[in-house]
């Protein structure tokens, strides 16, 4: 018998007695107020991320300094012109020298301050981790109230890779001291700006 068939046979032989129906998952009331943008921002900040304040004329004002100070900027959005073309990257290792990566989130979650990316937004998945800093563009209209609502979205069923980022890479494995940039990005800044209409 193959390992597979042996395991499945053992599971069938050892099936727990009784009828155990799958419960329905109710729609719990969102834990957040009506102003999803404010709620998202407040929670993101508690998770170590930053809201980069912008103006109507220049939504990117809050990250201008960071972009200007970067030697290598990899942008996956039309709003920012980088100097590293992600579409031309052959190996993920080649984005290790990126100082700032700029990507657009599919959506945000107010309950946690999270943003979602799939391989389509990242172009090179690894850039969201190997870069030193991550700048995220998020349309306020794309903010969902809670995690539960997020998992009703179709991206999880069709993306080869989907990831929720909530603030930057963090660790507190040494005496509970919180440190950003454990292995991945050292900072995550969110620019609230509507999607460019095509």
């Amino acid at each position: 018998m193959s390992a597979r068939d042996g395991i499945l046979a053992a599971i069938r032989a050892n099936r727990p007695a009784g009828d155990h129906p799958l419960p329905d998952v109710p729609l719990f009331a969102p834990l957040v107020g009506d102003d999803l943008t404010a709620e998202f921002g407040a929670r993101l900040q508690r998770m170590g991320g930053r809201i980069a304040p912008g103006t109507a004329q220049d939504p990117l004002a809050g990250v201008r300094e960071r972009l200007a100070g970067a030697k290598v900027v990899a942008s996956a959005v039309p709003e920012v012109a980088g100097n590293r073309d992600l579409a031309a990257i052959a190996r993920p290792q080649d984005v290790d020298d990126v100082d700032v990566a700029v990507v657009r989130a599919v959506f945000g979650i107010a309950e946690t301050g999270s943003v979602l990316f799939t391989q389509d937004e990242l172009v090179v998945n690894a850039v969201a981790y190997l870069a030193q800093h991550l700048v995220v563009l998020l349309d306020p209209a794309d903010i969902l109230p809670n995690v539960q609502a997020a998992y009703r979205r179709p991206e999880f069923g069709r993306a080869a890779y989907a990831v929720l980022h909530t603030g930057p890479s963090a660790t507190a494995d040494i005496e509970g001291v919180l440190i950003h940039g454990a292995q991945g990005v050292r900072s995550l800044s969110v620019v609230l700006t509507p999607r460019a209409t095509a």
Partner: protein, 528 residues
């Protein structure tokens, strides 16, 4: 700590918000701050950072492993307690996680309902595990993933080695996985000539110190910064006198990055495997699972078969519970969904049984398969916090370990279910409502029936039962009113070691037992 080091808060103990070991309170605070200047404590970050005093205290080591001989957890715990600075730091650190967990749980009105839902979803899934595994496999294959099945740890290790060999891979980076610890994977694969690097900071510390993780979420929780500085100086060449946590973490980042870039393959564990989509979900704070999965040209995910959940929407239940239970955070920094290979690369998933299908058939213990490895039971366990995770001499320590470990080796782990006061706090914090303390109780019965407890202990219980079931013998044991100390807990006071009196004052013998008082005061003229 000198008076100069003390803040006003240290001088006023009432202000210390529940820290019972003030000697490990940090007067300064290196933790990250938010945009508003307030200190942050997401991820594993402590709400009250600890700082072990600068006194050198060698790190206590774990239980002595001697083949299949029963682990002496009490002995290892006693050595841990003999290192008071380590013990105090460990206790405060994990109690802080417990308190953060309480705050997070009380922030959600439907918390108890979520726990019940999660428990029911797991019950349903485990009762239909064959069907969901087949569904998962079919979907994973349709996504272009190579699916393997491993009967046990050795099988898993052989399969992964085979994958690596087939690709000529000689270097492997991995993220934290309790399953691979269970399989002894790191030791096996190193012996096969594969260079393996752990990428979680805590796990990396443990790898470099040649120790197992002592906690499922914070693997190096038993070490102080001085221990880490010593390990890194010895293995990474850092400054032995620099124990700044930022310096140490940064040194690890800088020395690990080349391994990640050069790795031929990456391996991750799995928090949830979604049947309807064939997705592996990992939850990390460092992003190291994403680095392992997205940088090397070959990716492998090791999955315990009990990790299956039916649908994506169920993630909405489990993710709301996991990080809140583990860390008091609403979510981990990264929640990653690996469903299919990147263009031009291969993705392998290894479904591992290693005793799980057998455990499914254990009527009293199968619900331990619901565990989502959040570590909340360990953080709340008063015995664990005072013993250190390595005192259990097993992959899984703390309350969940007490009920899982004996399923792997009944003799070796026969002592563990006794390393508990059965106070029940573990059961109450468990996000999937495993009745942990009741299973500890049930294991004791199984072990006694199978004579896996020491003959001395069983003999004492037999003697106690003989006395307690015969009123005359019991009264004789109490004897006259002045010899109450002869009474129970007889085995406590008069066992060969007198373990009670070594650490505590003995209770005074009252002039008269209740029984004697009753006879003297309430039975005049009665039959007595």
């Amino acid at each position: 700590m000198s008076a100069d080091d003390m803040s006003a808060e240290d001088l006023n103990p009432r202000e210390r918000e529940g820290v019972i070991h003030p000697e490990v309170r940090a007067p300064d605070d290196e933790s990250e701050r938010g945009q508003d200047g307030r200190r942050l404590h997401h991820a594993e970050g402590a709400s009250k950072p600890i700082r072990a005093p600068r006194t050198r205290e060698p790190q206590p080591r774990g239980a002595k492993i001697r083949g299949d001989r029963p682990i002496d957890q009490a002995e290892a715990a006693e050595r841990f307690l003999a290192a008071p600075l380590h013990q105090a730091a460990h206790d405060e650190r994990l109690w802080d996680l417990r308190k953060k967990r309480d705050t997070a749980a009380f922030g959600i009105p439907e918390w108890e309902e979520l726990r019940e839902l999660a428990s029911q979803i797991k019950t349903h899934t485990l009762a239909n595990l064959d069907r969901y595994l087949e569904e998962f496999e079919a979907n994973a294959k349709a996504n272009g993933v190579h699916v393997h099945w491993a009967v046990d740890g050795a099988d898993h290790n052989r399969i992964v080695l085979g994958i690596l060999r087939a690709h000529g891979a000689k270097t492997l980076v991995k993220s934290k996985s309790m399953l691979t610890e269970e399989c002894g994977f790191r030791h096996f694969i190193e012996a096969e000539g594969i260079a393996i690097v752990e990428t979680d900071l805590g796990e990396r510390i443990q790898q470099l110190d040649n120790e197992e993780p002592s906690h499922v979420v914070v693997p190096a929780a038993h070490k102080t910064r001085f221990d880490v500085a010593e390990v890194f100086a010895r293995t990474l060449g850092t400054d032995p006198d620099n124990d700044d946590a930022h310096y140490l973490a940064e040194s690890q980042r800088e020395t690990t990055r080349p391994h990640i870039l050069q790795a031929d393959a990456g391996l991750t564990g799995c928090n949830f495997a979604v049947a309807e989509t064939g997705t592996v979900v990992t939850c990390t704070n460092e992003g190291n699972a994403d680095l392992s999965g997205n940088v090397p040209p070959l990716q492998i995910h090791s999955i315990g078969i009990e990790k299956i959940i039916p649908r994506v929407e169920h993630l909405g239940v489990f993710l709301r519970l996991l990080a809140r239970s583990a860390l008091g955070s609403p979510i981990t920094q990264y929640t990653s969904h690996f469903r299919g290979p990147r263009k031009g690369t291969e993705m392998h998933m290894v479904l591992v049984d290693n005793g799980r299908s057998a455990r499914l058939g254990m009527e009293e213990f199968w619900t331990s398969l619901k565990c989502i490895r959040c570590g909340a039971c360990m953080n709340t366990c008063p015995v664990y916090r005072r013993s250190g995770g390595l005192s259990y001499g097993a992959t899984y320590s703390g309350p969940i370990g007490l009920i899982i470990d004996p399923t792997f080796n009944k003799r070796k782990y026969s002592t563990l279910p006794f390393s508990s006061t059965m106070n029940g706090s573990c059961t109450n914090v468990c996000p999937v409502k495993i009745n942990i303390h009741e299973q500890i109780f049930a294991w004791r019965k199984v072990l006694a029936e199978e004579h896996q407890i020491p003959a001395l202990k069983q003999g004492m219980m037999k003697a106690a039962g003989a006395v307690l079931s015969r009123p005359a013998a019991y009264r004789a044991a109490i004897g006259a009113a002045d010899s109450a100390l002869k009474v129970l807990p007889r085995f406590a006071v008069y066992n060969p070691l007198n373990t009670w009196g070594r650490k505590r004052e003995m209770p005074e013998a009252p002039r008269q037992s209740f029984h004697a008082w009753y006879k003297a005061n309430r039975m005049k003229g009665d039959k007595a």
